[in-house]
């Protein structure tokens, strides 16, 4: 299904991990993906935004889990064992994204990445690097830096 097969990847290609969230196809750059694991119940973080499901223990590291559906304004996922957590490391920040299912690993020529269509919400648009048309489907390339939960600084209480 990939435009160019994985084996023949060229220097100009980008390797992407694609997955489904809320019935839509998304992908992220494989370089930011560290591992993929099944859902385990998370410890709830108080006072967190609704898309933060909590934190899990990833071999001793405390990793926050983002409900990617809720993050993009879709119906929040009701986590279940069949759901998948994509662990990403960006700027030394480790974050897990809860998705419905991981579909594929693709190698895509950079030239095939189109700019994000002008959609209504600028905020949503900022989450994406672009879109890729494959087999009559649209793969939304997520800008992982944009969907990271912002680090909340400690507020100095007077």
């Amino acid at each position: 299904m990939a435009v160019t097969s994985f084996e023949r990847s060229k220097a100009d290609d980008r390797e992407l991990v694609s997955f489904r969230v809320g019935g839509q196809d998304f992908c992220v750059d494989i370089m930011s993906v560290r591992e993929i694991r099944g859902w385990t119940p998370a410890t709830v973080l108080p006072h967190s935004p609704p898309f933060i499901l909590g934190v899990i223990n990833l071999r001793g590291a405390v990793v926050p889990i983002v409900d990617l559906a809720a993050r993009m304004g879709l119906e929040p996922i009701k986590p279940h064992a069949r759901h998948v957590i994509v662990i990403c490391i960006v700027f030394q920040q480790t974050v897990g994204f809860l998705v419905d299912a991981v579909s594929d690993i693709l190698s895509i020529d950079r030239s095939l990445i189109q700019p994000t269509p002008t959609i209504s919400s600028e905020i949503t648009r900022a989450f994406f690097e672009g879109v890729i048309a494959i087999d009559q489907r649209m793969l939304r390339l997520i800008d992982i830096k944009a969907v990271l939960p912002p680090i909340t600084p400690r507020q100095e209480l007077s």
Binding site: T43, H47, V55, G60, V62, T94
Partner: protein, 719 residues
């Protein structure tokens, strides 16, 4: 370029060790200054420390440091050579000079100008103490007392140059030939020098020929491995002056002997002739010929004529140690933390699958656990460091503070070897500085007042560290007037911190000092009263998981004690259930736990509930509500209340559903991957592999207080 930055880093690390050695030596001299004879070894050690700092600084072009170290060194040299008798006054100047030197090192390290203004004054005082003949020599860069010429024939007879040249200048210009006889001591190797570096430095000056003199090498069986047997005869063809050669040897003063003589350039051919002799000499070595050692300094020669003594007295300052990147240590601690958690997960799995603890698996797992614990303790110990450098720093603070306050203060330190987590030591600097300054400025009386009270005219400030039941207790005490309680009480009333009619216990009055915005100094002095008060000290200590307490006896003095955890990586916590979520409350914050009866619980209008604890009313924080897990409960009589005391002396009762257990937990930061969660200090991983949040009682209480929109008054509440 990075390597030079690394080198610079190494220089400063070494400087720190040298400053510590310097301080040790001077303190020894200070304590022994009444004795008639000055311990030569200590003087030498002090001199060497300053000299090495100067040498290192020179290599990096740290001008200010070199200049001051030079003056300091001159004065110390006068003491070393017996021309200056170190009276207590003089040692006092030395101590202050050491402080200033440390300032200069710090400012060089931070690339910031030094704020200390003592420099010129100290230089004057250092120069004044020199015997007048020495004074004119102070600015000469190299020691000028070395013999530049010796009997040539004798020199040539010994001189056996051959073979191995580092650089060859193909177009030689008029050059001088220096003959250098160089012998090193075992100490040269022990401190990590290598003759080859000296040869390279010399080769940089011109063309160098070297010839090893192995005549003093004993037979294989008699050889002492750590002894230095080789000497070298060097011939240097250079355009540089003799001073340049001395500079090369400058850092080795006292640990090698060398002798330089000049061979006129027209005699160069003779040198070549000598090569043939040298070859003969090599083929037929004469072991009984002992090379003549001409020491560059008589005192230094005395030093190595008795190597046993020098070895024993310098041993304590040379701890066998490895410099390790702190990050690496932290990573190791993390991994070991994982191992311990992993072990408890395994144990849980075993229990869940119904395997008996008596089985082989169970026994092995027990062994695994004890090994993991032991490993953890030892790895934690890597981070631990003696408080000695901290105490030395405080000694400096006392000297500075007593100078400014115009009081004479005796500083006593105890328990310098007690080890505490490195971070704790670093974080303690500011609060301790503050406490110490307070002790000197406010604690101790002026001399006249002390005499009037029948006390010795010199006040004493004691700093001690000790281990107490898994924690470290650090105490600062002075023998001053004690807390002026009526005055403290009046100030608190004036500032509106307590109601005018409040009835306060003595200990409560003492605790008023910790309230924000409290400063008893009638006038703002140079030392204290800069707007930060003991409340800052208190919150700094509490952020380290510590507690601070103050006791005072009028007329006898004040003691401030700080109790600290041994490490910041683990914490004693109470594991509790909050609306189905497992959470951890630090034990240090908990005063007591109680199960309230319905009669003790009172509503307080719409603002919430309070619980009566022995006649005082303590507001309740429902943790489940505070963390948004559910609405506030109507009835707390089925719940457990944890009575906590916050940094502001406030008491709050934290309501939890259940207490599971009390245990040591490994602290895991949330900040790097997520950020700060209000009311939560950190996270930890429990035996089942799940994450539990560690509650920050202070912040939880402050959030609650802000939600009330009132500033509660702790004292009036309790009284």
């Amino acid at each position: 370029m990075t390597s030079s930055i690394d080198l610079r880093q190494t220089l400063f690390q070494e400087c720190e060790e040298l400053l510590e050695a310097l301080d040790d030596g001077l303190t020894l001299l200070w304590n022994g200054s009444d004795a008639d004879d000055v311990d030569q070894e200590t003087v030498n050690a002090v001199f060497r420390a300053v000299h090495s700092i100067k040498g290192g600084a020179a290599a990096f072009g740290l001008e200010a440091l070199v200049r001051f170290a030079h003056h300091f060194e001159n004065a110390l040299d006068a003491v070393r050579s017996g021309r200056l008798i170190p009276t207590p006054d003089i040692i006092g100047v030395f101590l202050r000079s050491a402080d200033y030197l440390a300032d200069l090192v710090a400012s060089a390290r931070n690339d910031a100008p030094s704020h200390s203004t003592h420099g010129p004054d100290l230089v004057t005082r250092l120069n004044e103490m020199l015997p007048s003949s020495q004074a004119d020599l102070t600015l000469k860069p190299a020691p000028a007392t070395l013999p530049n010429t010796v009997d040539e024939s004798a020199e040539i007879a010994r001189f056996q140059p051959i073979a191995f040249s580092f650089e060859f200048d193909t177009t030689p210009e008029p050059e001088t030939v220096f003959q250098i006889h160089f012998a090193c001591t075992r100490r040269l190797y022990a401190v990590g020098h290598d003759p080859v570096h000296i040869f390279r430095s010399l080769a940089d000056l011109g063309t160098l020929q070297t010839q090893v003199d192995s005549s003093s090498l004993p037979t294989f069986a008699e050889m002492d491995w750590s002894e230095a047997y080789f000497a070298w005869n060097l011939a240097l063809y250079t355009k540089e002056s003799v001073a340049a050669i001395h500079t090369v040897f400058e850092f080795l003063e006292g640990i090698c002997t060398y002798e330089i003589s000049v061979l006129p350039s027209d005699q160069k051919s003779e040198v070549d002739v000598l090569e043939a002799q040298a070859a003969r000499a090599l083929s037929a070595p004469e072991p009984d010929v002992v090379p003549v050692v001409v020491p560059n300094d008589l005192k230094a020669a005395q030093g190595y004529s008795k190597p046993e003594k020098s070895a024993s007295s310098s041993a304590p300052s040379q701890r066998g140690s490895v410099r390790v990147d702190l990050e690496l240590v932290d990573r190791l601690i993390n991994i070991v933390g994982e191992l311990v958690i992993n072990q408890s997960v395994l144990a849980q799995c075993m229990q869940d699958s119904g395997i008996s603890g008596q089985s082989d698996v169970g026994t092995s797992l027990d062994e695994f656990r004890s090994l993991a614990r032991e490993l953890q303790e030892n790895v934690m110990a890597i981070r631990a460091q003696p408080v000695k450098p901290l105490f030395q720093r405080m000694a400096r603070i006392i000297r500075e503070a007593s100078d400014i306050a115009g009081k004479t203060v005796d500083f006593e330190a105890e328990g310098e070897a007690v080890e505490v987590d490195k971070t704790v030591i670093e974080q303690l600097v500011d609060p301790l500085t503050h406490i110490i300054r307070n002790a000197v400025d406010h604690g101790l009386e002026q001399r006249s007042a002390r005499l009037a009270a029948g006390k010795p005219e010199i006040g004493v400030v004691r700093l001690s560290a000790a281990h107490r039941s898994g924690r470290v207790l650090i105490e600062v005490s002075d023998d001053g007037a004690g807390i002026n309680r009526p005055k403290v009480r009046q100030i608190a009333i004036d500032k509106g911190l307590v109601p005018a009619d409040a009835v306060l216990e003595d200990s409560e009055i003492d605790k008023l000092l910790f309230l924000p915005g409290f400063s008893t100094a009638a006038k703002v002095t140079d030392l204290s009263g800069r707007g930060v008060g003991m409340d800052v000290v208190r919150s700094a200590i509490q952020s380290l998981g510590g507690r601070v307490n103050i006791t005072s006896t009028p007329g006898k003095g004040t003691t401030i004690s700080i109790s600290l955890p041994l490490t910041l990586a683990v914490l004693d916590g109470m594991v509790v259930d909050v609306a189905g979520q497992t959470m951890v409350v630090p034990i240090t914050a908990i005063v007591e736990t109680l199960r309230p009866s319905a009669a003790d619980l009172h509503h307080f209008a719409a603002a919430g509930k309070v619980v009566a604890v022995r006649e005082t009313f303590v507001p309740i924080i429902d943790l489940a509500e505070a963390f948004g897990h559910r609405a506030a409960m109507e009835d707390y009589s089925n719940m457990v209340l944890l009575l906590v005391e916050t940094g502001q002396n406030e008491r709050w009762a934290l309501a939890v559903d259940k207490i599971y257990d009390q245990r040591q937990v490994v602290i895991k930061g949330l900040e790097s991957n997520y950020g700060h969660v209000p009311g939560v200090a950190a996270a930890t991983i429990l035996g089942d592999g799940k994450i539990a949040l560690i509650i920050d009682p202070d912040e939880t209480a402050q959030r609650k207080r802000r939600a009330f929109g009132v500033v509660t008054n702790p004292i009036s509440e309790e009284a």
